[in-house]
Symmetry: none
Subunit: 206 residues, 4 copies
Amino acid sequence: MSIIERKKRHKESLRQEILDAAREILLAEGYACLSMRRIAERIEYSPTTIYHYFNNKDDILYHLCVETLERQYEALSTAGADLPSPYLRLRAALRAYVDFGFSEPDRYKITFMADLSRYVSTASILEQGGVADRLITVMYQRVHEALVAAECNRDVKSVFQALWAHCHGLVSLLLGHPDFPWTERENLIETGLDLSLAGLFVKETE
Amino acid sequence: MSIIERKKRHKESLRQEILDAAREILLAEGYACLSMRRIAERIEYSPTTIYHYFNNKDDILYHLCVETLERQYEALSTAGADLPSPYLRLRAALRAYVDFGFSEPDRYKITFMADLSRYVSTASILEQGGVADRLITVMYQRVHEALVAAECNRDVKSVFQALWAHCHGLVSLLLGHPDFPWTERENLIETGLDLSLAGLFVKETE
Amino acid sequence: MSIIERKKRHKESLRQEILDAAREILLAEGYACLSMRRIAERIEYSPTTIYHYFNNKDDILYHLCVETLERQYEALSTAGADLPSPYLRLRAALRAYVDFGFSEPDRYKITFMADLSRYVSTASILEQGGVADRLITVMYQRVHEALVAAECNRDVKSVFQALWAHCHGLVSLLLGHPDFPWTERENLIETGLDLSLAGLFVKETE
Amino acid sequence: MSIIERKKRHKESLRQEILDAAREILLAEGYACLSMRRIAERIEYSPTTIYHYFNNKDDILYHLCVETLERQYEALSTAGADLPSPYLRLRAALRAYVDFGFSEPDRYKITFMADLSRYVSTASILEQGGVADRLITVMYQRVHEALVAAECNRDVKSVFQALWAHCHGLVSLLLGHPDFPWTERENLIETGLDLSLAGLFVKETE
DNA sequence: TATGAATGAGCATTCATTCAT
DNA sequence: TATGAATGAATGCTCATTCAT
């Protein structure tokens, strides 16, 4: 029993080591350098061994995405939870989204920017009760609260998606084009959030 | 004379065929599948021939980007130019940006979403007097006008970049994750623009 | 046990086959024709397989050189060791050098005549304790003995290098230009050695 | 008539330009970098044009060899011609041979060290009355004189070939293995010549 | 004479993956 | 479970050369 247990735990740990290695390579050298061989080198096993834990490279990418979403959930769900107003709590969550992107750029890239739709199905990512599902639920709540507080009768879903898009735009544009002459990042992020969120308090435009 | 003319035209057209082929492959199969050989197959010439028209693979990517920017400039610079207010003219330009993305998804993806920063230098794209430069100038003007009209003292550069990011977010998220359960697109776009632009009229947030 | 043994032996032998194939190609068709693909064809394995045995092409060249030096060391270190005079022992070593070149022309060409300096570092060949180092040491001793016996106060190093050059000249010129109307080879070699070695006994020139 | 003449002269000059370009590339970047394309770039004509003047790359190499021999003939035939003794005149010629090798290393390499036997026939190089023939004749004379003066009854042909080999050994070994820890070059050359030539004055060895 | 267009063959190397053990 | 051996396919790119004009 305990031997089986030990083996199982070993199996778990090697599996995690593989994901860690993949992520580290991604972080250190970018997506283009992520190869089975390099993962194998890093974990000091043969490339073949990896295939005992993952079907193929895409499988690893899928689990990397899930892992990213889990970390993102950690970051977002707690961000500013104790702030005094719904507006601030929403803003904190959005800010956390942006910060997450910049603090884990390669994870963000593979999950949200890389065109993995060929390899990773959106459906499997979004399955009910999954981390993406929970993530969206949290954000819905924050948006809902803020809309109520602002007496704004916009559709929660649309507003959430638009705000998400805005945040994604900030992260992805800066990550994707690092050499563009951006204004100071902090300023740009705050301007972006200011503009996005101001809309909640404006009844009519023009 | 006419022979020279014909040859010249052939040369131009083959060059364009190469760009078209590259774009189609990039769109249909992703960057990983874009290779000189595949382009060659598609245009039904030998790989070597491509090198008569472009220095190397990166050169092709560069021209793909420039081509996109030129079309985008066409679309944006004239959009809503005759509208009565600076706000509307700015909004029209942003809307044109988004519409361009959806009407030419392949070109948009390649230029703004694909992670080509390793292959295409931002500097070369942005060189003074180039199309990107002109594009930015046009947008600056529209943003500037709108800020003046709204008596908003925000920095033109920051606002432009934030608005660009918002629009890019909308386009790239929808193009990149087509299977996500988005709200109706028109509604989402307008919501996104509403939110972004409302900020110009709000003096203080919260 | 025996299975492991068999595998190990197979590995050794394939490795040697690769070196043999490389040498044969180099000899038969010149450096320009030595490619991983041709080696692969010759050994009837895929090009990729070669990379399991050698890091890269240069690595193969390096081992080809080392292999030659080992055989040469065998030949030179024992040549005429029991002859009665230092002069004769030195002459025997030089003669063995020349004979080695003619008896293993392919190996000699690769190591001493092919312009591999771009691909094989002299430093790595000469590393202390390596076969080249031992080879030089042996020759130094023979030269030293002979100089002492002849009461010649020339520098050992210079004399060794000059004598080496003379012998190399004989071998390389004859191997490199086989169609030139050379005098009878035995005669030429002996004349060459006579001339070279006579200098040891002449106190002043002219 | 004069038009034909002018054209002919132009043809001659472009032909020479090609050889010059080839030699310069060889000199500046080594044999591996000599390609038709690079020659074409250098003379600012299309690669195709070269084929009007030379059948192929080998043909260029052949003419480069002949050119080298001509320059070598210049250098050797006049070297030390006014020196007072046959010995010194021979020594001067040998020294000139060595110096030529070091002063024009790439020319020397392609002519004497590169394995061009596949592309350039020795026979065509050696044809009677050709420059190689004249070169050999000059050297024979110097060797003959020196042998007579030294009352040495060795065969002229053997001695010439042996001395040539010695000199070639010095040049080729140093050029081919530039990173070897050679003794100071001047010293090595003089030692080499001392040893080689001393033999002429020694009646019996050992 | 000179060229632009085009090509087929070749290069070293890396990749994800399979298979027998 | 883990591996060593092996592979087929692919990569960007350069080459000498041919051909029609």
